[in-house]
């Protein structure tokens, strides 16, 4: 039986496959509640990660001809990235428990040999209280690392810390 191929780092020169338009998930004419999701990626010293490939995947709204569900953004010299997308709705979860609206984020960079996966939820969303994935995190401060916060009209912001104080919860599955 074949075994899955090993991951290797995306390295510092992945921008050869960077296409800035990928960061706009509404570019094919998606309809829905348009939002911006901004973020900032920092390392174990708190220094900005300026060469990160941030990928976004959301299963809601369902991918279609007008909505790819997938985006890719590069961090700038200050570690910042920005997506334009459609606000996701709730999703089915394990058992009969609904998942709160969220997007998955995939972080790839020099110094990341595999991938670092996390999620962004929306602060103050009532369904967060019963979300089956958030419920796996006991420490409220750790859970809070997965919450994007309002940062202007229809703008949400999430800080991502790869290591150290305020370290983001990363996931394996």
């Amino acid at each position: 039986m074949p075994i899955a191929t090993a991951s290797q780092t995306i390295g510092p020169y992945w921008h050869l496959i960077e296409h800035p338009e990928f960061a706009d998930l509404t570019r094919f004419g998606a309809v829905g509640e348009r939002i911006a999701l901004t973020g900032r990626v920092r390392d174990g010293d708190g220094a900005p990660v300026a060469d990160c490939c941030v990928e976004l995947w959301q299963a809601s709204p369902a991918a279609s001809e007008t909505f790819p569900g997938y985006g890719r953004a590069a961090t700038d010299s200050d570690g910042r990235f920005r997506f334009t997308t459609i606000r996701p709705g709730p999703l089915p979860g394990p058992g009969n428990v609904q998942q709160a609206p969220h997007v998955a984020l995939n972080l790839l960079a020099r110094g990341i040999l595999g991938r670092l996966v996390t999620r962004a939820y929306f602060d103050a969303e009532p369904l967060n209280d019963t979300d089956p994935i958030l419920a796996l995190i006991d420490d409220p401060a750790r859970r809070a690392t997965l919450l994007a916060r309002p940062a202007g009209e229809a703008v949400w912001h999430i800080d991502i810390r790869l290591q150290g104080e305020g370290e983001t919860v990363f996931m394996a599955f």
């Binding site: 191929t5 299963a59 790819p68 999703l91 990363f170």
Partner: protein, 241 residues
């Protein structure tokens, strides 16, 4: 424009766990850049939900193919022309059809057409180093390029990356996302490379090395290399028929 978004019969089946030792760790001290970029808290193990089991779909109509990296207009890139082909399979040996592969690489001199690459080697104005191909119904892909050169990096004294081509694949779900590198047979730098050696399992490392393929070699034109890629399989094997 109308596009089909086919629903695989086992869409809701989770992907199986990766085989221990065959994937690199997040923390690998020999690769210095991992030091400040790996989480120190344990990863949160979560059940696969619709977010992890499904994934994006790409089609050449929206993401145009670039199957020949050696040509830009009428000009040709300098270097040793190569053809790379292979199959994308899952862990049950089934082809992964219609999946996108993105490719990027250094030029023949070991220099990326990238502003941050300051290696003192010539740029080739006729080589950008980006490709994009899709697998066919049987999981086959193929592209034409030039053999990338080795290049120095500052990980340790006299550190050189072996010749390699970067690959990005998606497969059927977010859980199957894969970024990897293809290496070339007989490269003496492989034994010294910490990125390659971050994969503990020797067989898994060997599978990252393409093999010379005379069948794929085009007479009077280009050497051929074969590089198969395996993506995570589903937890429950589903019969083909």
């Amino acid at each position: 424009m109308s596009e089909a978004f086919p629903t695989p019969p086992d869409l809701r089946t989770p992907f199986r766990a990766l085989t221990p030792g065959t994937q690199p760790p997040n923390d690998f001290p020999e690769y210095g850049s991992t030091q400040k970029r790996h989480p120190k808290q344990p990863l949160l193990r979560i059940p696969q939900t619709v977010t992890e089991i499904t994934g994006p779909r790409f089609s050449p109509s929206r993401y145009p193919s670039i199957i020949d990296l050696t040509r830009s207009g009428v000009h040709e890139a300098l270097g040793e022309r190569i053809i790379v082909r292979g199959r994308v399979l899952d862990e049950d040996g089934r082809p992964v059809p219609d999946t996108m592969l993105e490719i990027w690489q250094a030029n023949a001199a070991g220099r990326y057409a990238h502003p941050r690459d300051q290696h003192d080697a010539p740029l080739d104005p006729h080589f950008r180093g980006e490709g994009r191909v899709f697998t066919d119904a049987q999981g086959w892909y193929q592209f034409t390029s030039i053999k990338p050169g080795a290049y120095p990096w500052r990980n340790h004294f006299n550190a050189w990356r072996p010749n390699h081509i970067h690959f990005s694949l998606f497969g059927p779900g977010f859980a199957t996302r894969l970024i990897t590198q293809m290496y070339f047979p007989g490269d003496p730098l492989l034994e010294l490379d910490p990125i390659f050696h971050a994969v503990a399992d020797e067989q898994a490392r060997r599978r990252l090395i393409a093999r010379f393929d005379i069948e794929c070699t085009k007479p009077e034109w280009a050497l051929g290399y074969r590089f198969d890629i395996v993506l995570r399989g589903r937890e429950t094997a589903v019969a083909e028929e």
